[in-house]
C-alpha cells in the first residue's frame, strides 16, 4: 500500500519540535520514520528557521534545517507556480504557496492555522491522525 502523503505546514512542524507531547510531534516522528511522506516547500523551511532562530539560536535552526532536508520532500516553486496564479485571492498571501503546493500535488494540508478554515483539504494534526486511526492528544495541534 502506498504511504500516505500530506503537505505539512510550518505551524505543525514548529509545534511538533517544541511540544513533544502533541499530535504535531507524532506527525514529525511518523515523517522521520518514513511511515508517512511529509511534503513541504522552501517557504515552509524559511518560516520554520525564522521562528526557531528567534526562540533559540542559529545552531538549533541549522539542526532543524538539516532534519527538514533529510526527512521531508521539498517541492520547488516551479512545480506549483501555475497553482499560485489559479488560487490568488482565495487565501491570504502568506499561505498561498502552501495552498498551491498542496493543490498541485493533490495533497491534504495539515496545519494549525485558522486562516486555512474553509479551504478544501485543510485538516488539523488531530483530525489527520484520526484518519490514520491514531488519536493520542486532545488538542487540535
Amino acid at each position: 500500500m502506498p504511504k500516505k502523503r500530506a503537505f505539512i505546514d510550518s505551524s505543525v512542524i514548529i509545534r511538533g519540535v517544541l511540544y513533544e507531547e502533541s499530535n504535531s510531534s507524532i506527525i514529525i516522528e511518523m515523517v522521520n520514520k518514513g511511515d508517512i511522506v511529509g511534503v513541504i516547500n522552501e517557504k515552509v523551511v524559511s518560516e520554520v528557521l525564522k521562528v526557531l532562530k528567534e526562540l533559540k539560536d542559529k545552531d538549533f535552526a541549522s539542526l532543524v534545517f538539516s532534519f527538514l532536508h533529510s526527512s521531508f520532500e521539498i517541492v520547488p516553486r516551479e512545480r506549483y507556480a501555475n497553482e499560485m496564479e489559479l488560487n490568488k485571492g482565495k487565501i491570504k498571501e502568506k499561505d498561498l504557496d502552501h495552498l498551491a503546493t498542496a493543490k498541485a500535488l493533490n495533497l491534504p494540508i495539515v496545519a494549525y492555522d485558522m486562516d486555512f478554515e474553509g479551504i478544501e483539504g485543510y485538516i488539523t494534526p488531530r483530525r489527520f491522525l484520526e484518519t490514520l486511526g491514531i488519536v493520542k492528544y486532545e488538542t487540535e495541534y
Binding site: 524559511s46 538549533f60 532534519f67 502568506k94
Partner: protein, 84 residues
C-alpha cells in the same frame, strides 16, 4: 606547506553562501559550514535522522513560550517570507 583554494573555488563558495543568505538558510560562513557538515553527515549515513531528531528534542526542552506568543511568531514568519 599551506595549500589555499583557487579563485574559482572561492568564487563558487561565495555564490553558494550568497544564495543561502538570500533564501534565509544561513547568514554567516560558520552557519553555512555547520549546515553543510550536517547535511553531508546525513546524506552519507555518518549521522542518522534519529540522532538529529533526538538532539533537536533535547535542545527544544529549554524553550518556554506561551501558545499565543508562538502563534504571533509563526504568523510574522509567514508574512516575512512571502516571495515578492
Amino acid at each position: 606547506m599551506v595549500i589555499g583554494m583557487d579563485a574559482a573555488t572561492i568564487e563558487l563558495e561565495e555564490e553558494i553562501l550568497d544564495e543561502m543568505r538570500k533564501r534565509g538558510i544561513a547568514e554567516t560562513k560558520d552557519e553555512a559550514i555547520t549546515i553543510a557538515l550536517l547535511n553531508f553527515a546525513l546524506s552519507t549515513d555518518l549521522l542518522s535522522r534519529n540522532a538529529v531528531l533526538r538532539k533537536i528534542r533535547e535542545k527544544a526542552k529549554g524553550i518556554k513560550i506561551e501558545e499565543a506568543e508562538l502563534e504571533r511568531l509563526i504568523q510574522n514568519a509567514k508574512e516575512a517570507s512571502i516571495h515578492r
